[in-house]
Symmetry: C2
Subunit: 142 residues, 2 copies
């Protein structure tokens, strides 16, 4: 029951001023959508939090969703891109360095909807701890 | 640079009919929001995909976001709850069994925004593979 992959992207050491203004963050999301040919449903939802807060953006996609939150006080931007269909890779590290001044970008790839039985070979009861089998969750610097 | 925790919840073996109708899925999200006292910003965004598709819901929160996608053909519902502030636990397994007929619920807890240097003790270069230190990402059945 594989239902696509979610990318969890944390970009650290960004320029606080860029993270605080919606224009720069929207431009990043616009580029992601265009270059990965994502299909937006309806209107993206954006919110500017009061100083010293950042911005949040949510995109409902036919492929699932793209979200972005910025934390200027931490110089941090976090993105989720959940695609239930395969998409080409995007150069998160280079792109976020250029657009937001990110010093370090971590991309985690999380498969969604893997049946527990098929992954572990046995049913797993409630409240048991469970570890993903090797290779089913990958953490990397992109 | 810890910026909260994201819960990645996959509920499998659900009732396909319930996953296909927006009313039942919205009711689940409403309950999550109410019982965890989440603060919605603006209007939640919902979309019904054409048969045999499911529904998607996105909530912009002051705490970050809640998202939900359903895949009736896979009997699967996937949720993300990203909270940049601590919240009480929710009984995902019991609640989703009751509301959507889920047979198996997996909850993965992903910390956001951990600085790579502080987690590994060394700077990590672009394109290096990197594994989370033990305990920094937990996979469990809730």
């Amino acid at each position: 029951m594989y239902a696509g992959e979610e990318l969890i992207v944390d970009a650290e050491g960004c320029c606080a001023e860029l993270l605080a203004e919606m224009r720069s963050v929207r431009a990043v999301c616009k580029k992601i959508v265009e270059e990965l040919a994502l299909q937006i449903v309806g209107e993206p939802q954006w919110h500017q939090f009061p100083f010293p807060g950042g911005v949040t953006g949510l995109y409902l996609l036919t492929e699932s969703h793209l979200t972005c939150h910025t934390f200027p006080e931490l110089r941090l931007a976090t993105f989720n891109l959940y695609c239930c269909r395969p998409r080409p890779r995007w150069q998160w590290s280079a792109e976020l360095a250029e657009s937001l001044g990110a010093k370090q970008v971590r991309v985690r790839r999380v498969p969604r909807g893997l049946l527990l039985e098929s992954a572990t070979g046995a049913a797993v009861g409630d409240d048991d701890l469970w570890s993903l089998p090797p290779g089913s969750m990958r953490n990397e610097i992109d």
